[in-house]
Amino acid sequence: MKHSLVRPGIVAVFTVFAALLPYITGNLYYLHVATVIGVYWVLIATLNLLVGFTGQLSVGHVGLLAIGAYAFCLLAGGQGWNPFIALLAGGGVCAVIGLLLGLPSLRLPGFYFAMATLAFGLIVSELAQAEQWLTNGSVGMPAPSFPAPFDTPWGFYWLVFGIAAFITWMTANLARFMWGRAMVALRDSTVAASSVAIPIYWTKLIVFVFSGFTAGVAGGLYATSQSYITPDAFIVNLGIYFFVAIVIGGRGVIIGPFIGAAVLAAIPELVGPLAKYGTFFYGFILLVVVLVLPGGFGELINTLVEKLRRTPQSSTHIEPDLEQLRTAIRPRA
């Protein structure tokens, strides 16, 4: 609260930069890369609440992304819905599916949950292939675009940017108030969390459903950014990419994973021949970060800032203020 000018300043500069990006590059291909990063970010921002804050390792969000994409294409394309309504409906479908998936699986310990979500991702791709009447099988389906002014590459970029900014704002709010503390508490110590009456299971579930909703929205945007979807577009490796972005960025840091997402998405695009080694590279980075820098770069920066800002304190001298304590315990008495 005291040093509150720096952070909003950075956020403002970044926002202006991102909003003006199309003018800076002026190149449709780079714009496409920026748009795709924005779409991924819509998913990663809330997945970070689940993985980074709440500590639930969902490997299956790529399944939710796929469901959102298909729902969007079916509703906006096949049924002729307004694309914005279809986008929200896709999010809604994923929220419900997230609820159905989370209800049994969030009761399970970490590795079980990771496996259950991995399995979920596999089931989704199995069904996307098999249920031809709905998904058109491996042939896939074209994705509708949004009405003017969002029908041009620039317009679509700003739409994605706007949604991403809104979601980032929401996650930042969640993180800075009591819900954020509750999430971190149940990640770090379930014993401590239950001792202060945090409903562990319900908190996990609500975060999971929320991240399911935005994964669905991201799915719709992803479909439009790709202009066409097939089951092959939603491979498990994409889920690993989401993870690596979060882990490098720093779990429990709102904006950290954005840097991870941007860097990881840009590298294979800018260095074409690396495409082949893409997934290997993701695995490698994940391992290195987990071993060397488990908090990710976000936490590293936070720690450095902390060190710079504060004068080191000597050992704590505990001197209770009993009067204050008395009034604090019984404020009205």
């Binding site: 449709l28 496409h32 491996s138 074409g272 495409a275 082949k276 893409g278």
Partner: protein, 402 residues
């Protein structure tokens, strides 16, 4: 601004200049055009799931370009290839397609060469008004109304299935068909098409099974087909392991029923997975006229010529089969013919040229494009070949029944 106006009149700036100077002095034309090469974009998944086939295609593509450049390029201009490896990932294919059409200023895009990757790129390439040679077999890829600049440089899936069904019914004279396909989208799609073509001949499959391609044993499905009274099996899968298990199971049951199906069954990779090589007898895969040798055991002349010319480097790519590298060749050959006839890389002109050439005789097979049909490849280019009859030169003898 003026460029747009010129294009509307049917003449690009480059064409106008070239034409003008051409009239002035016939010899000066190459000198001016030479300063700007023809740029061919090329997206192929040379790593990832379908790598071995794609590597052979990639090789064929580059060799053909090198041959053309050796002869002075096209329209007197050198050809440059801008290649991207999409690693069998559709989202990468989309990114690279955008990169190539927007950033690399290419004259034509060839590929992606798998249907799953090609489908999402259609809108991008047609939106950017670039000529597009499409290397996937799915029907939906070609639509001269929606994508007027898209041309297919191989056969469509329906052609395969049509020929396969015709072969089973007319040549093998079998009517009790069992369909066994894998549970990928492609497998299921093909199953439905086979059923359709059978229905057109008033036939119904006696048995169908959709199987996980990683299922370690398919004896069960095979026995069920036998119980259903099948006298021919048709398989639709591009998973070598799955196809090999099917052929193995048939051999182990000593059931001498013909298996007809997807070209995967012809792959050396399948043969390696067989318990006995003799199991490969009586298995027929979809091949091409260009693979079938004449009475003297010789491949068609233009195929043999291409292979002779590149015999030093062809070695590693022979295993993928002739169709793979000839398909890479076809993409370049088709474009080269269109461009030469158009005399100008303007996509609309090349399109018009391709639609007006009576027949393009690529080693892969004859292609005929019309304004209403951009599929090009002709049914008679496809033939069934006997898997175990593969000759050392990569060809097959014609199938003899009985």
């Amino acid at each position: 601004m003026s460029q747009k106006a010129l294009r509307l009149t049917g003449l690009g700036r480059r064409g106008l200049l070239a034409g003008a100077t051409g009239i002035a002095s016939g010899l000066a034309m190459p000198a001016i055009a030479q300063n700007k090469p023809i740029r061919m974009g090329w997206i192929a998944a040379v790593s990832g799931m379908f790598a071995s086939n794609a590597q052979a295609q990639d090789w064929g593509f580059h060799q053909t370009v090198a041959d053309l450049n050796e002869k002075g390029g096209l329209l007197g201009r050198k050809i440059e290839v801008v290649m991207r490896d999409s690693a069998a990932d559709p989202s990468k294919a989309v990114s690279f397609a955008k990169e190539l059409v927007y950033n690399e200023n290419i004259d034509v895009l060839c590929g992606p060469i798998n249907s799953g990757e090609a489908l999402p790129t259609l809108g991008i390439v047609s939106g950017a008004k670039k000529l597009h040679l499409i290397g996937g077999s799915v029907e939906e890829l070609i639509d001269p109304v929606k994508y007027p600049l898209g041309f297919r440089n191989l056969n469509a899936n329906g052609q395969w299935i049509k020929v396969a069904v015709k072969f089973m019914v007319e040549d093998l004279k079998k009517t009790k068909v069992a369909i066994i396909n894998d549970n990928t989208g492609y497998g299921v799609l093909s199953r439905d098409k086979v059923t359709q073509f059978l229905a057109a001949r008033n036939l119904k499959p006696v048995y169908t099974a959709t199987v996980d391609p990683n299922k370690p044993d398919v004896t069960d499905e095979l026995l069920k087909a036998k119980d259903a009274g099948a006298d021919v099996i048709t398989e639709w899968s591009n998973a070598t392991g799955f196809v090999a298990r099917l052929v193995n199971a048939r051999g182990e049951q000593n059931w001498d029923v013909p298996i007809v199906g997807h070209p995967t069954i012809l792959q050396e990779q399948v043969a390696k997975l067989l318990t006995k090589r003799s199991y490969w007898d009586n298995a027929y895969g979809l091949g091409y006229r260009h693979e079938v040798v004449d009475a003297q055991g010789k491949l068609p002349d233009n195929v043999q010529a291409f292979m002779d010319k590149h015999k030093d480097t062809i070695g590693p790519y022979m295993a993928a089969g002739l169709p793979a590298f000839l398909q890479g060749n076809a993409a370049v050959t088709i474009y080269a013919e269109g461009l030469t006839k158009a005399g100008d890389p303007d996509p609309m002109k090349v399109k018009a040229a391709l639609e007006s050439i009576p027949v393009i005789k690529a080693p892969y097979g004859p292609f005929i494009y019309t304004p209403k049909d951009h599929n090009g490849f002709q049914d008679e280019g496809i033939v069934l070949v006997n898997a175990n009859a593969l000759l050392p030169n990569g060809g097959y003898p014609p199938v003899k029944i009985g």
